[in-house]
Symmetry: C2
Subunit: 388 residues, 2 copies
């Protein structure tokens, strides 16, 4: 088999919202198609992937650097041992040809979208869901276990907005969620504490409520807020300061007894290694949120998981950032701790299709081939535009 | 004043060469123009910048994210206190609007090219060279002192290539250089040691010869090679391992007594802070090679220098990566340790124009307004194409 084309569109996110640091008004995502020469029902089998949410589409890097490298490679050099499928690790290596080490930012998103499209293509060639292909690649059982999922959101509402945090969280309960994550760090301490108290009424206990500062705090601010929230025994305290400030994370881990969550803005194995070497992360307690679509794809993600386990961490501590169907398959296939969801926002990529309902705080992928992106009508529409 | 347009071209590098890790065959650089509404001689004053060498042009990020943000900003919101010039820090902040923290890679190059074009524009508006504007911005004297410069290269030549390392280095001596940097890590240890011996014959002493492993070694390899080269008392041992592997750098600094050089692949203040916190860099000994064009421009670079000095390092320890006219102005304006040059390669951006001859191992910027990029004929040609 060989790749006959690689296509990409930048797809704007709908349902714009803001966290403590950025607005998602102008954010977009790269939808990537890998077109194979394998024909099924008179049409080529195509793999689709995208680079998760929050770091923008990567049209330039994909079209100027990565696509030419892949299309210039000898087709056989990209294949696995059986000669019938692409080898994701080989595609990753060719995509990175002549790229210098370090500087893991936008490039990691561009490669991530492409590498995930390889997984979608391979699973479709086998006519099976991606989680099964992912599980098999890691020597794991493909038996499906419901994936714990929590509703992320908990936005700030102005006094005249006609909506409250309680309304928002009640909506999540009505959708089948039983755990939430809310924003902190974007208001005064007393306002944030009042929001936590309001959320706890619906969450029933701190074990069902996490807070996310989106990197807003410096160390004194993070420590002060940590002292105030410690009595609530929250599920976790997320992205307290700059995501690369390992010294801050280490100090937080020394002083805040509850779980700390971070990693969604670490985009490579080496960045995660630095977090483990210097960030004070605690085995059996803290939460890792790396996102394959933002960090070169699953090949790199497998290496990251291997590193975590070699340092005594458990994959149950891993909850990928993103809240979308690709990461649901990854969590299910790899047996990670769970998923997030952002109900109603980050469309078309955010959220799960009707074939994956949320029940009792869990969700599971359907049996559609690949990541099943075609089952989500708004992604299916973007796919039709890309392939038109 | 206001910005009327921002233009960019991706300009291919000529004179392709390889180091131990990458080939520069397909590398390009973003040339950026900021067009102002200030007219001189019937034409608008235009600032030009580029994003240094080695990390590719950033067409997508510049055109899709950064240009729209700058052009959408209220013109006055980008001006300095006098209202007559752009404020580089304000342009930087607007360029980063809605960008998440972390992930300092390609984005840092895109912003760097733009921010440097602001400095070129401002200096042209004052009809003075950029080094003087840079010096003044930091409260330094604009008096010009010749800048130490070394010739970087020292490539590998096949036995049938008809050229030797000695030929190459003799060519640099003939051009006025008195110090070199050569590649290591791309051949066997004995071959690399023989190359060092060959280079020392022309360099006269280890103090005039640095070696660059381009991140090739793991820790055992870096340590082993370090033990072998220690007796030569080389000027420095550069980029030994992965540029983000602070633990490796720390171990090297504990074990290798000579100067270590790194930083060209660190693209933000936070990454440099991590190097200082965890990398074992030694005051008065080791060398920092951060490059403003790859790391968000001079606004971020000033913050990096301030951090270095606050931790007891000296700006004489700073030798920016790049080997081009923009960094010559930066080194001269800020009183840094010195510059590199890559004679004959990385054209059109590499190297210095005839108005900046190399003499006795030093070079200095001319009095052309701004960075004087127009004095280098091959850059001038690229500028004409961009503005056509």
């Amino acid at each position: 088999m060989k790749i006959t084309d690689i296509r990409t569109h930048s797809v704007k996110l709908e349902g714009a919202i803001s966290n403590a640091v950025v607005s998602f008004d102008d954010h977009d995502v790269s939808l990537v198609a890998i077109v194979s020469d394998v024909m099924r029902g008179g049409r080529p089998v195509v793999g689709f992937g995208f680079n998760s949410i929050g770091r923008y589409a990567q049209r330039g890097i994909l079209l100027d650097r990565i696509r030419p490298r892949i299309l210039a490679a000898t087709p056989d050099s990209l294949l696995g041992e059986d000669g019938c499928q692409l080898d994701p690790a080989k595609v990753y290596a060719v995509a990175m040809k002549n790229e210098k080490p370090g500087g893991h930012g936008d490039r990691a998103s561009a490669v991530g979208a492409l590498e995930l499209a390889v997984w979608d293509l391979n699973a479709k060639l086998d006519d099976r869901p991606a989680y099964a292909a992912i599980a098999e690649a890691c020597g794991r059982s493909a038996k499906l276990v419901p994936v714990p999922v929590y509703a992320a959101g908990g936005y700030y509402y102005g006094t005249g907005s006609g909506k409250t945090l309680g309304d928002e969280l009640q909506g999540y309960l009505d959708l089948g969620f039983d755990a939430f994550k809310i924003k902190v760090g974007g208001a005064t301490e007393s306002e944030d504490l009042a929001r936590i108290e309001e959320a706890l009424k619906l969450a029933r206990s701190g074990a069902h409520l996490a807070v996310d500062a989106n990197g807003r705090f410096d160390l004194p601010g993070g420590l002060a807020f940590g002292r105030r929230i410690a009595p609530y025994n929250l599920r976790w305290y997320e992205e307290i300061g700059d995501p690369l400030d390992y010294a801050l994370n280490q100090a937080m881990a020394h002083c805040y007894d509850g779980p700390i969550a971070t990693g969604e803005n670490l985009f490579s194995l080496q960045d995660v290694r630095n977090l483990l070497n210097f960030g004070g992360m605690r085995s059996g307690r803290d939460i890792f949120q790396m996102d394959a679509g933002l960090s070169y794809g699953l090949t790199e993600y497998f290496r990251i998981l291997e590193l975590l386990e070699s340092r005594g961490f458990d994959r149950a501590q891993v909850f990928p950032h993103g809240g979308h169907l690709i990461n649901l398959h990854i969590v299910a296939g790899l047996g990670l701790g769970g998923c997030e969801a952002y109900p109603g926002v980050f469309k078309p990529f955010g959220g799960y299709p009707d074939s994956c309902p949320v029940t009792d705080g869990t969700v599971q992928p359907s049996d559609a081939p690949g990541f099943g992106l075609e089952e989500k009508p708004e992604i299916a529409a973007a796919i039709r535009r890309l392939m038109a």
